[in-house]
């Protein structure tokens, strides 16, 4: 009833291969894009600057990691380090006077160059072993940043981010930053939506499913594993630059420690491996749920004047947060994107359940 699939026949390959084959989906996507575009005018500035902006940035990072993990089946426990390279590289380049448009790209190239070196480990090892070698990347990069004052910024290890313009527009307020993040996020999302329909995406999928089988059918695993790391690290570097310029505005080593890598890994898994929509859901849950739970529980205990000790008040949201993640994964191991898909599948034929394929 909602989706009106009846009577829609795809008679040409182009229409059959569309990203969204049902008009309802297209309208839905359009509405969401519109909402994101007008958000700065309707959403309270607090929620714009501290919920939506970081959510977009985290979601873009999750997309980049998802290309590697969901697309090519390679684990990466050092994605925070990849972003750190982009962030530090971009701040130093911007301070040296490079225009921001180039800084954004240079951050990507820098991360991609270093990321692909560590990705080379994937040519030899798989699964848990790859997880450990990428973890080594995390620690190595952390160590280098902290121990080279020229990178970290002297005794205080903080780099202030210079002011920037983007194609002639000054990026100052939260609204400017939001649109910049939205722009990059949209580009990465479009890339991710389309990549699986290209030869690259299919080659990555072949490598993901069985690398030697891929080799036998003529897909060079050497080339595509490195390419997967290269592209994913490129996105990571660009997002690292966004982290620094749009959101943190001051870069310190702690921002890119293992916690960030684990957060993004969790966002990919909770959201759904390989799913674009799932990356947005996963990032939202992992990033925003602790804050929201904390505020809800705090407000509730104030409103009902519960006299809970500070210790319990601080830890209860963490327990709920953990329970939420476990709960979602128990309910649907394939992630939040799959839950959305189940709901959508239900409504596609509703109320004619028997018509479901």
């Amino acid at each position: 009833m909602f989706y009106r699939a009846a009577g829609i026949r795809h008679t040409r390959y182009e229409s059959d291969r569309r990203l969204w084959r049902l008009p309802f989906d297209r309208w839905l996507v359009g509405a969401v894009v519109l909402l994101l575009l007008i958000a700065p005018f309707v959403v309270n500035s607090l929620y714009l600057g501290t919920y939506m902006l970081p959510w977009l940035v985290w979601a873009t990072a999750t997309l980049g990691l998802n290309l590697l993990m969901g697309g090519a089946g390679q684990v990466h426990l050092g994605y925070g380090a990849v972003m750190a390279i982009g962030a530090y590289g971009s701040v130093h380049l911007a301070r040296a006077g490079l225009p921001f448009e180039l800084v954004l790209l240079a951050a990507g190239f820098l991360s991609a160059t270093i990321g692909v070196v560590f990705g080379a480990a994937a040519l030899r090892v798989k699964g848990l072993y790859l997880a450990i070698s990428t973890l080594a990347m995390q620690y190595l990069v952390d160590f280098v940043i902290v121990h080279v004052p020229a990178i970290s910024g002297g005794t205080q290890a903080t780099l202030q981010v210079p002011k920037i313009t983007f194609f002639g527009m000054r990026v100052v307020s939260d609204v400017d930053n939001y649109y910049l993040a939205l722009f990059v996020c949209a580009l990465v999302t479009l890339f991710m939506l389309n990549v699986r329909r290209t030869s690259l995406g299919r080659a990555l999928a072949a490598v993901r499913e069985k690398d030697y089988a891929a080799e036998i059918i003529g897909v060079s695993t050497f080339r595509y594993k490195l390419l997967a790391f290269w592209v994913s690290s490129f996105i990571g570097g660009v997002v690292g630059c966004l982290f620094a310029f749009c959101y943190y505005k001051a870069v310190t080593p702690e921002q890119f420690h293992l916690e960030l890598s684990i957060q993004l890994l969790a966002a990919v898994i909770v959201g759904g491996l390989g799913s674009v929509l799932g990356s947005f859901f996963g990032a939202a849950l992992i990033l925003l749920a602790p804050v929201i739970l904390n505020n809800v529980i705090g407000a509730a205990s104030r409103a009902f004047s519960l006299n809970v000790s500070a210790d319990i008040a601080a830890h209860a949201p963490l327990m709920l947060y953990g329970a939420l993640i476990v709960g979602f994964l128990l309910f649907e191991p394939l992630g939040l994107a799959k839950i959305y898909n189940n709901v959508r599948n239900y409504f596609v034929v509703w109320p004619f359940r028997h018509a479901r394929k």
Binding site: Y51, V146, P162, K249, N295, A299
Partner: protein, 419 residues
């Protein structure tokens, strides 16, 4: 987008509830302090006690009728040392009209500096954060209000030098530290002092969080130090002291940075490390008058924010001390503009005109000015007698010229590039 809508609704509900409660609060004249702190992840060893001290002192002031009719309220939320959560709390509190924010977490504080400077919001960076924020000309809205790590290192060397009758020539000083920004911070001071005073100095870094330091301490033993300085926090300090004792290093030759409290000594075993020295930036114990007053007027009347046995411990007193400075800043702001409600800007003026303030014996005489946000850099040395920390010196500051050289070098760099 289902999940997001739901989350926004939840967030909206929170906003509605909090505006409701703030409407109730608005009935009386209230000055709000924002305390987003880390109760759950990194700073767990200090936050609960520190926060209890802050709240108890504000209760004391409120019980006595406040300052010129203004009562104080502490807005508390956990940020878990996560920068996004810290930023969210900062932006929320800013909109709720707090006059200052005390995040008590180095990563969060560092990330908030550009925002606080742009918003003209007082960012308290007590006992953490950027040491160069002592330069008030470069950081007008960043307020350390406490003896920074460079001053602490200089004071420890000064104390050691006094014990050696002023002659450190040829003495060996080991410096065992956590290998992080915080741990490496005193290195330039120690290196410079080693040059000036002619002692032999060697650093022994251990990896964060410092649960295993056995290799480090056998190296320290081989170095045969006359004195050892330990520089860590929380569990790392416990391990350092245990390993030092195990390696036969005399406890009264070990001196610690200010992050060492009764609770850590209890973990080590009260008698296991008798004689350990540490630097105190705030007087410990229940003897200072403010603490005694809190015991009588707040805790004694059942209005304490936590367990009574915490009152008077190191971190508790640090919380109280910081709250006294904040309230003093508000008092001075109200003295200047008695008819206007305190704002972040007027409190900034107030904080920057605190003069020779001792909080009735809790602090060394602290003078904050538009150029000096550190407040003099004084501290004293205390020794563990198996039960409590006993002061072993008067308040003193040492080698502030080196400290200010480092502050200026770093703040000049900030001025140049922070634009």
């Amino acid at each position: 987008m289902k999940l997001n809508l739901r989350q926004y609704m939840a967030a909206g509900a929170v906003a509605a509830v909090s505006t409701f409660s703030s409407a109730v609060m608005a009935q009386e004249k209230v000055v709000k302090f924002g305390f987003p702190q880390d109760f759950t992840v990194v700073y767990t060893f200090v936050t609960a006690e520190y926060s209890q001290g802050q709240r108890d002192y504000l209760s004391l002031v409120n019980e006595r009728g406040g300052i010129r009719g203004y009562k104080f309220s502490a807005e508390i939320v956990d940020h878990g040392s996560s920068v996004p959560r810290g930023i969210e709390a900062y932006e929320r509190f800013k909109r709720e009209g707090v006059v200052l924010i005390d995040p008590l977490s180095t990563p969060v504080a560092r990330a908030l500096v550009p925002r606080a400077m742009a918003d003209k919001m007082n960012l308290i960076m007590a006992y953490s954060g950027r040491s160069d924020a002592a330069d008030g000309t470069a950081f007008p809205y960043v307020m350390p209000l406490s003896t920074n790590y460079w001053s602490q290192a200089a004071s420890l060397i000064e104390y050691i030098s006094r014990q050696e009758k002023g002659d450190l020539k040829g003495k060996r000083i080991a410096f065992a530290y956590i290998d992080s920004g915080y741990g490496r911070e005193p290195l330039p001071v120690l290196q410079e002092l080693a040059k000036r005073k002619g002692f032999e100095f060697q650093g022994f870094p251990y990896t964060s969080p410092g649960n295993d330091q056995s290799a480090v301490w056998s190296n320290v033993r081989r170095f045969k130090p006359d004195w050892s300085i330990i520089w860590g926090a929380g569990a790392g300090q416990v391990v350092s002291i245990k390993e030092a004792v195990r390696n036969g290093i005399p406890t009264d030759r070990i001196a610690s940075v200010a992050w060492l409290s009764e609770s850590e000594m209890n973990v080590i075993g009260n008698d296991a490390a008798k004689g350990i020295l540490k630097l105190e930036v705030v007087a410990g114990g229940r003897e200072p008058k403010v603490i005694a007053d809190i015991m009588k007027e707040v805790v004694g009347r059942g209005k304490g924010a936590g367990k009574a046995e915490i009152v008077g411990t190191t971190y508790y007193n640090m919380g109280v001390a910081m709250a006294t400075l904040m309230v003093e800043g508000v008092r001075l702001a109200l003295e200047k503009n008695p008819n206007a409600a305190p704002t972040a800007e007027s409190v900034n003026e107030g904080l920057r005109s605190i003069t020779k303030f001792t909080a009735e014996g809790l602090l060394p005489a602290v003078t904050i000015s538009k150029t000096d946000h550190q407040g003099g850099g004084q501290s004293r040395v205390a020794q563990w007698d198996g039960r409590r920390w006993v002061a072993r010196s008067d308040w003193f500051a040492a080698d502030q010229d080196i400290v200010w050289q480092l502050i200026k070098a770093s703040s000049e760099e900030f001025k140049k590039t922070g634009k």
